[in-house]
């Protein structure tokens, strides 16, 4: 009960992050918001007394999947740039 207000704040921020991940036009900004979403989720898992899940969420959700998405974005941009150079 002592964490009630903090939890509500976290949940509201979670919903805001989830919606703005979809609505952001810039893919890079969208990825950063997605990382923030995972981090908030990790804190919520820790408050729900599931430390195993909190560690996994922080490592995989905020860390590795975001890194893979960043690299994918980088490679897609590079491919786009390369094909533009070929057409010119």
């Amino acid at each position: 009960m002592q964490y009630f207000d903090f939890e509500m704040l976290l949940l509201v921020l979670l919903v805001i992050c989830g919606i703005s991940t979809c609505l952001t036009k810039n893919l890079l900004a969208s990825l950063v918001i997605f990382m923030a979403y995972s981090l908030l989720m990790a804190i919520i898992w820790a408050l729900l007394r599931a430390p195993d899940l909190a560690i996994t969420e922080a490592a995989v959700g905020a860390g590795i999947s975001s890194i893979l998405l960043f690299i994918t974005l980088h490679i897609l941009r590079k491919l786009r740039k390369g094909s533009e150079d070929e057409t010119k």
Partner: protein
């Protein structure tokens, strides 16, 4: 033109957004283009009436929103049908939970009940997870290592410009990489005593490898983690997991005594098979995470 309007609308929609993939796919798959009888060329696209294209582009988001609204309503309906949280007569409140929580420490020897459940009672679930990860990496390797299909052929020197000798990144990595790998190892080895376990510890070790390769390049890491050692280590870990768990389940089902005893709960060398299984899962996950990063970034391990 009239024959295949919808398909061409989709193509027009795609070309506006994902020009590069279309062209890359065209280069990679000569067979694929020959299969479609009507090759979409620039003239065809110009010939597509501008009005229809605009109408389709307007219609597409509306249809998408309607579809998603229907799905959200469907799932919300399902959520409202769920039983009340924490009620005594819920279907989750059965004898399985009772048994796990009451006798778990005695039977498995693990202080951490989660580890006891996922690596002893429900070990096949974790085995399936490890295999899913390994299969995902295998699929990525099939796609990216095959020279005719790989997009890494299209542009040379992929990912080289990502690695700059940055002073800040280098210094931070020098401090952080040992701590990260040590913390991951602690989580793996301590998985039966506290929060942690093979999956999270392995993911953290993989993140440490990724940080190292971002800061110092691949030459150092390639000495001990190349494709050959990767294959051997992952296959050995998965085989060890399967064989030892088959043995343990066989003995358990037939009432034999296993050679792995539960030991004293709370000691580091206790809980029977959980510690080696954690280590196997952690090795597979760490290799897979680093392997995925390396495959994505430069097209080889």
């Amino acid at each position: 033109m009239k024959r295949n309007n919808l398909k061409e609308w989709f193509r027009a929609w795609d070309e506006d957004r994902f020009d590069f993939t279309e062209k890359a796919a065209g280069e990679m798959h000569p067979d694929l283009i020959q299969e479609t009888p009507e090759k979409v060329t620039e003239e065809n696209l110009i010939g597509l009436e501008h009005k229809e294209k605009a109408a389709f582009q307007k219609l597409y988001p509306i249809l998408a929103v309607i579809l998603i609204t229907v799905m959200i309503a469907f799932f919300l309906r399902a959520v409202f049908d769920l039983p009340e949280f924490g009620k005594a007569g819920n279907p989750t409140d059965n004898e399985v939970v009772d048994r796990y929580l009451r006798n778990g420490m005695e039977e498995t020897g693990a202080v951490n009940a989660v580890s006891g459940i996922i690596l002893d009672y429900r070990a096949f679930d974790t085995l399936g997870e490890s295999h899913v990860l390994f299969a995902a990496l295998t699929a990525v390797m099939i796609l990216l290592l095959y020279p005719d299909v790989s997009p890494f052929k299209a542009t040379k020197d992929f990912g080289v410009d990502l690695i700059r000798r940055d002073v800040i990144v280098g210094t931070t990595a020098k401090v952080l990489v040992p701590v990260t790998v040590l913390f991951g190892s602690y989580l793996i080895l301590n998985g039966h005593l506290g929060p942690g376990g093979g999956f999270s510890g392995g993911a953290i070790i993989g993140a440490g490898f990724i940080l190292y390769s971002v800061a110092f390049g691949y030459t150092g890491i390639e000495r001990y983690l190349n494709l050959r050692s990767f294959r051997i280590v992952c296959a050995c870990a998965l085989c060890f997991y399967s064989v030892s768990k088959c043995y343990s389940f066989f003995c358990g089902a037939n009432g034999f005594h296993t050679i792995f005893s539960a030991g004293t709960p709370g000691r580091i060398l206790s809980a029977g098979l959980i510690l080696p299984l954690n280590a196997a899962v952690g090795i597979v996950v760490a290799c897979t995470m680093y392997g995925l990063y390396s495959m994505f970034q430069r097209g080889k391990i």
